[in-house]
């Protein structure tokens, strides 16, 4: 479903992504973890071409994302993206945030888009918040609206860039629950996260990155109990022992 081949990217003379190769099959869930500055966010942002790459190829559902001939706008409708800082549209209600792209990009008619939007927001526990503006919502609610907004385009894959990092601790679980319920629907997902318990619980593979490289890819049972690289061991000893 997502195929990342030999991706390279530099900022100036700093290599931010080096020889990245990754295969994610349909319905698989991958967690991208690693220390800050490892290139996790950069990598996930290259998958929908929010970041350009210097070399290599990224193929999502058969579409080469960085090919100049690709209609990137059409390709992006297949890829849902959830940001760390939500990036909701502050002048639109929760429901309008969810319906604006289906109406304008997919040319869905208003009533159909609204019906779908209401269904998605209800599914994420926001049935009483249709008409609320983002500023009237808590961080956790805002992030769930953002998830509904991404789902409204019927994406084939979902990308989450640290979806809980900007949240107060008591709100993290409501967002993780939403992602859990999405996992049950068989959605293909890549999640950049610092929530190790969550990664362990729902992910098929843990991708550990450091210094712009993928250091280790392993199933969570193996990765968390017996990582094969020193770099991963060092990282885990820092994040797990508290």
């Amino acid at each position: 479903m997502i195929s990342i081949k030999n991706v390279q990217k530099t900022f100036g003379n700093h290599k931010v992504l080096e020889d990245i190769n990754l295969e994610v099959s349909q319905s698989q869930i991958f967690a991208l973890i690693g220390p800050s500055g490892a290139g996790k966010s950069t990598l996930i942002r290259t998958i929908n071409a929010l970041e350009p790459i210097d070399e290599g190829d990224i193929i999502v559902d058969g579409i080469s994302i960085h090919d100049k001939k690709t209609n990137i706008n059409a390709a992006r409708t297949e890829i849902g993206f959830v940001f760390q800082s939500f990036n909701l549209y502050p002048f639109l209600t929760a429901l309008e945030n969810v319906t604006i792209a289906p109406i304008n990009v997919k040319k869905m008619n208003n009533s159909e888009a609204e019906e779908k939007g209401k269904k998605l927001l209800s599914m994420l526990g926001l049935e009483s918040k249709f008409q609320s503006y983002p500023s009237q919502l808590s961080g956790g609610q805002q992030q769930r609206v953002a998830i509904a907004r991404a789902l409204a385009m019927d994406p084939k894959v979902m990308l989450f860039d640290e979806p809980t990092s900007a949240l107060d601790p008591e709100m993290i679980n409501e967002v993780l629950d939403s992602i859990r319920s999405l996992a049950k629907t068989g959605m293909t997902m890549i999640v950049v996260t610092h929530e190790m318990g969550f990664a362990k619980e729902i992910c098929d593979q843990i991708v550990f990155m450091a210094d712009g490289k993928i250091v280790e890819v392993a199933p969570p049972e193996k990765f968390f109990s017996n990582p094969s690289t020193e770099r991963a061991k060092g990282f885990l000893s820092k994040v797990l022992n508290h």
Partner: protein
């Protein structure tokens, strides 16, 4: 000798004043209407990634900001107007619109750039084209942010419109000048004219304040 006031000159010439006010309003509103699309287009071109496009837009803004409006009006009326047969009225509208448009462009550019980058990213990642993202997501937010500076710019435009009297457009200022020349009632006439300009601009700023409140979603 003390100046003895005689305010009868005002009611006796109310028709003339009204005509002047109407023409001032007409020219200002036309210039305003043209300066908005000029400002939006030039403002958008200013932030274009195409270097030539942004250079041309920047050059326009710099030239317009660097020339006094009075000189620009003379130039349009006496130089360009001779070729294009514009006449005083359209020379005035064109001069005010192109002049004000440069300032509106700067306001629009600042407004767009004040919208957080994540808004464009969110819009683009949902499949919107750059143009759709601008129109549906960025400009509506930029518009709310630029209402106060835009209001000031439009008030300046109305006041600047008094300069068009020098290219013989019979606006409020020229009517007043002519009236003073015939009646010698400079205190009364100029005081009243100042009041009229104030009423126009004050009304405008109240209208804009209304829109500011209306669009003020708690952000």
């Amino acid at each position: 000798m003390l100046y003895s006031t005689d305010w009868s000159v005002i009611p006796n010439n109310m028709g003339l004043f009204l005509k002047g006010v109407l023409l001032t309003l007409e020219i200002s509103v036309l210039a305003l209407l043209f300066s908005i699309p000029i400002g939006i287009i030039v403002g958008l071109l200013r932030i274009s990634r195409n270097k030539i496009v942004s250079f041309v837009a920047t050059a326009y803004v710099e030239v317009m900001r660097g020339i006094p409006l009075l000189v620009l009006l003379f130039w349009i009326f006496f130089v360009m107007g001779q070729f294009l047969r514009l006449g005083p009225y359209w020379s005035a509208v064109l001069g005010l619109a192109t002049f004000s448009g440069a300032f509106v462009a700067e306001i629009v550019r600042a407004g767009i750039q004040s919208v957080p980058k994540g808004q464009m990213e969110a819009a683009r990642s949902s499949g919107m084209t750059y143009t759709q993202a601008m129109r549906l997501i960025i400009l509506p937010q930029a518009f709310r942010k630029v209402l106060p500076p835009l209001a000031s710019q439009f008030i300046i435009l109305i006041k600047d419109s008094s300069l068009v009297s020098v290219i013989s457009v019979v606006d409020l200022t020229l009517i007043a000048k002519n009236l003073v020349a015939t009646s010698f009632r400079s205190l009364e006439v100029w005081t009243f004219v100042a009041l009229l300009y104030f009423l126009i601009t004050f009304t405008l700023s109240q209208i804009i304040r209304y829109f500011e409140k209306k669009y003020q979603v708690s952000e």
